[in-house]
């Protein structure tokens, strides 16, 4: 995609390396406006529909903040209760309707492929804000932004993805995106929750170095980025087995004793207990910054798509 204007953002696979860099650089330029230090009215008169068919805190609020910081308006719903969807309206019809009311449609839906379907029925651009266990491209872009902003580069970065790599959608999209760059990846997970074969093959096809282990201590002192995800209890039939596994992936101060000085610990949030609260006070903790970056990255996308940034 050479120009973003009018484009749908459905999957990170639709982006080239150049597209990703364009978004990240635009996002950097958005920081003064995203933090309210500088006003921006470039999307004044434009309306964003936010269709949230399942609950979300960070994604929804950061999209709304992003649109309002650019001077635009927002309409939509935060859950389907009370809308005509509960009366059995199809997603296709809902999308046709909001397409007429707004200039861009942001959708979060419990079913995989919902955003692609929405894009088929909408004449306006559609942004996927998460579809079931499928794609969540704006999360991936803000993850990439956090790494790029923190280390000044993406090529050559050592990154360990930790936790539930089998079911976690953020780590799947992130793996696809990181494979575009010359990154050194490590997948750290219990064998039953390792990365799906398809994604491992994708990394290998690119000829990128890949390490797979179940022991975080194998990699923790060598990496620049530790991307931690939650291991969900319901993935384990035996609660004792869960307790055993979850405990070994808990990041605490003693585990960080010999890590690189500029290590970045990231997490898509919400976290439960996979990162001890004491880690929040260390310079390694970047997960709250990562969540804040969501606003500038989403501002960049809205601006590029709606023609606020040429």
């Amino acid at each position: 995609m050479s120009s973003f204007e009018g484009l749908d953002v459905i999957s990170i696979s639709d982006f080239s390396k150049e597209d990703v860099m364009r978004v990240l650089k635009t996002a950097k330029g958005m920081v003064p406006m995203a933090t309210g230090r500088k006003p921006d009215r470039s999307l004044e008169g434009k309306i964003m529909s936010a269709l949230f068919f399942e609950p979300s805190t960070r994604t929804r609020l950061s999209f709304e903040s992003a649109m309002k910081r650019l001077g635009g308006g927002v309409l939509g719903f935060a859950q389907p209760e009370g809308t005509s969807i509960m009366k059995g309206e199809t997603l296709a019809d809902t999308v046709r309707m909001v397409d007429a009311y707004s200039d861009v449609v942001v959708i979060r839906h419990p079913h995989e492929g919902a955003a692609r379907l929405a894009a088929d029925f909408a004449s306006k651009p559609v942004i996927n804000a998460g579809d079931g266990a499928g794609q969540h491209p704006t999360q991936t872009l803000l993850d990439l932004y956090t790494i790029w902003e923190g280390l000044g580069k993406l090529d050559g970065v050592n990154i360990a993805l930790v936790g539930d790599l089998k079911y976690g959608r953020t780590v799947h999209s992130l793996t696809t995106a990181l494979s575009m760059f010359r990154t050194n990846l490590s997948f750290v997970a219990p064998p039953s929750l390792q990365m799906p074969r398809e994604l491992i093959d994708q990394v290998k096809e690119k000829g990128l170095p890949l390490k797979m282990t179940h022991d975080i201590r194998d990699v923790i002192n060598d990496v620049d980025v530790l991307y931690v995800t939650r291991i969900q209890k319901e993935r384990f039939p035996d609660p004792q087995e869960y307790a055993k596994v979850a405990g070994t992936y808990r990041i605490d101060i003693p585990l960080l004793r010999d890590v690189k000085k500029n290590l970045m610990i990231m997490h898509p949030l919400p976290r439960v207990d996979e990162i001890a609260a004491e880690v929040d006070e260390t310079p390694y903790a970047r997960y709250f910054q990562q969540a804040l970056n969501g606003v500038s990255v989403r501002m960049a996308l809205l601006s590029l798509i709606l023609g606020g940034t040429k």
Binding site: S11, S13, T90, L91, A92, H109, P110, H111, E112, G113, A114, R116, L117, D120, D131, G132, A133, G134, Q135, E198
Partner: protein, 151 residues
């Protein structure tokens, strides 16, 4: 005198060079069960110079529509479809795998939007021809059992 195992047909379709063992799946695709109005002949495990063993299906008084031919292609890419009119081969078609399979497969992912009550046809993109690998355009999942997913 050698007796012909399968007789020529007057009008209809002969699907030849079906990989051995796939004839019954071809019948399923064509919706042929016990209740038929014209003769259907099925030959399985027939010697073939080209394929060693093959299956053949002859359906009298019926010509296939393009969608049926596309479906056959998914399970029998080597097949040829001959349209017979008045004992002559009126058309000889090799099936060819399309770039995308539209409306002929059901996505195996129960949580895919195409398995909800939405007014869309499924679309699968061919990501590899041999072996045949198909990816759902909507949910991005690879289809695991192509033959079982044909609708």
């Amino acid at each position: 005198m050698r007796e012909l195992r399968v007789q020529p047909i007057k009008n209809g379709t002969v699907i030849d060079h079906i990989p051995s063992g796939m004839a019954l799946k071809v019948l399923k695709i064509l919706g042929i069960s016990g209740n038929v109005a014209s003769t259907v002949t099925v030959a399985m495990h027939v010697a073939s110079a080209k394929m060693k063993w093959k299956d053949i299906v002859k359906v009298e008084d019926r010509e296939l529509n393009p969608r049926e031919v596309d479906k056959i292609c998914l399970i029998a890419p080597s097949a040829t479809v001959n349209v017979i009119r008045n004992y002559n081969v009126a058309e000889k078609r090799r099936v060819s795998l399309p770039e995308r399979a539209v409306g002929i497969l059901k996505c195996g992912n129960p949580n895919c939007i195409t398995n909800q009550k939405e007014p869309v046809e499924t679309v699968f993109l061919v990501s590899s021809k041999t072996p045949l690998l198909l990816r759902c355009r909507y949910c991005d999942r690879m289809l695991e059992d192509v033959a079982a997913a044909i609708v």
